[in-house]
């Protein structure tokens, strides 16, 4: 993404203060840390954070968004600065596209298909052959977005069942559950998905797209940026499922990283730090982009995805959602 600025991750509860036209992070233990405000692209707060009006006005001046994850690890909301890239033309085109049954269904189909390809690529190609074939048939038959979501759900369920076979007992999902996640595996996936959702929201805010007008997820859902859900969908397997398998395979995830209760699990403080660090490093991984012909960080892929959809709206170039090509 454009500037040299970075995302800051707050993994302990703290207070953000404004000091010397910059930011000062105060934590209950340890000395306060000053962070240069020009170095901040956005902030992801994984724990309770206090801030006040003067901080908010400084953040606004520097166009810094703050994303909040709740104590249980799901996305809790964002403090968004005023829109900077505004283009009514794009929004009108986007709404037109969303209102057009055939066009929006085509985009929704592409998203579901690409997500499935990514899931299959990450989890297991061979065992997911059949579910994939079933999914492709139902995508072709689907005439509403509800049917598409249903077909995706079925595929996802078989993928999670396959995923379970590759995880140690204590990390198994036993079916996806959220709010609250029922076990450690689910807590992990929810947490990473929450982070990806937040990153996607930041990326879309760099384009003029309206975050509430979606193609696959219901536009009617309140208080949720449905478009973010749409676009984040294809990236979730690249981070959540893939990192879960990797960390489990390397034995890096330990039961101590979770706080498990009856029918409920969440990450402990060390677990949260581990995951944030892993995701942060993963976002910085670069890959040779096929059409751009240069190295691109995973983080930038999210932005490119949003740009691609902007193009689809304005110029009608076919929208090809991200697929893991390596």
């Amino acid at each position: 993404m454009p500037t040299a600025a970075r995302t800051y991750w707050l993994t302990t509860s703290c207070r953000i203060r404004r000091k010397d036209q910059s930011l000062r992070i105060e934590r209950p233990e340890g000395a306060p840390v000053h962070i240069p405000v020009t170095d901040v692209r956005d902030i992801v707060a994984c724990e309770a954070v206090d801030l006040n009006t003067s901080v908010i006005s400084l953040l606004n001046q520097h166009r810094i968004n703050v994303h909040f994850l709740s104590h249980y690890g799901d996305y809790a909301g964002s403090l968004l600065t005023a829109d900077t890239s505004v283009s009514g033309q794009t929004v009108i085109a986007q709404v037109g596209l969303a209102a057009d049954q055939t066009a929006s269904l085509e985009i929704a189909r592409a998203i579901v298909a690409s997500t499935a390809v990514n899931v299959r690529r990450v989890v297991d190609r061979r065992l997911l052959n059949r579910p994939m074939a079933v999914l492709e048939a139902s995508i072709a038959d689907a005439t509403t977005r509800e049917q598409l979501m249903g077909a995706e759900g079925t595929f996802r369920r078989s993928a999670w069942a396959v995923l379970d076979t590759r995880l140690p007992d204590w990390l198994r999902l036993d079916g996806r559950s959220r709010r609250p996640p029922r076990n450690a595996g689910n807590a992990f996936i929810s947490y990473v998905n929450g982070i990806i959702y937040a990153r996607m929201l930041s990326a879309i805010r760099l384009t003029p797209l309206h975050t509430g007008v979606a193609f696959l997820h219901s536009t009617m859902e309140r208080q949720r940026h449905s478009l973010v859900l749409d676009l984040a969908e294809v990236f979730k397997p690249l981070f959540a499922e893939r990192l879960l398998l990797r960390l489990a395979g390397r034995g890096q995830l330990k039961p101590a990283h979770f706080e498990t209760d009856v029918n409920q699990a969440m990450l402990s403080e060390t677990g949260r730090k581990l995951i944030v660090q892993t995701v942060r490093d993963e976002l910085a991984v670069t890959i040779q982009h096929r059409s751009l012909g240069r190295n691109v960080a995973y983080d930038e892929l999210l932005y490119l995805e949003a740009l691609q959809l902007t193009r689809r709206c304005l110029e009608g170039t076919p929208y090809k959602p991200f697929r893991i090509w390596w």
Binding site: R6, Q21, S22, D39
Partner: protein, 87 residues
């Protein structure tokens, strides 16, 4: 590019230059700052520094490292930990 800034100014101007540096870089020692800046940010930073200091008396040293690299950092004795983005 990665930047290390060291300043030596008249005591009465120290506070002002400290405040300014804090907006752009991480404070690692009393008069030493480090961090990554884009070329545009560095230019703006320079202009703002020159407005604060007395050009005939104060000195500000800036070490830059080629884009994409950062200097190896050795910590001897009590040192502020390297700046991090996970807090």
């Amino acid at each position: 590019m990665y930047v290390v800034v060291v300043y030596d100014t008249l005591a009465k101007r120290n506070a002002a230059i400290l405040r300014l540096c804090r907006q752009y870089l991480h404070h690692v020692q009393r008069s030493v700052f480090e961090g990554a800046l884009s070329p545009a940010q560095l230019k703006r930073f320079r202009h703002r520094v020159e407005e604060v200091i007395d050009q005939s008396y104060d000195s500000v040293l800036v070490f830059t490292f080629p884009p994409g690299t950062s200097p190896e950092r050795h910590e001897w004795g009590v040192a502020q930990p390297a700046p991090t983005d996970i807090l």
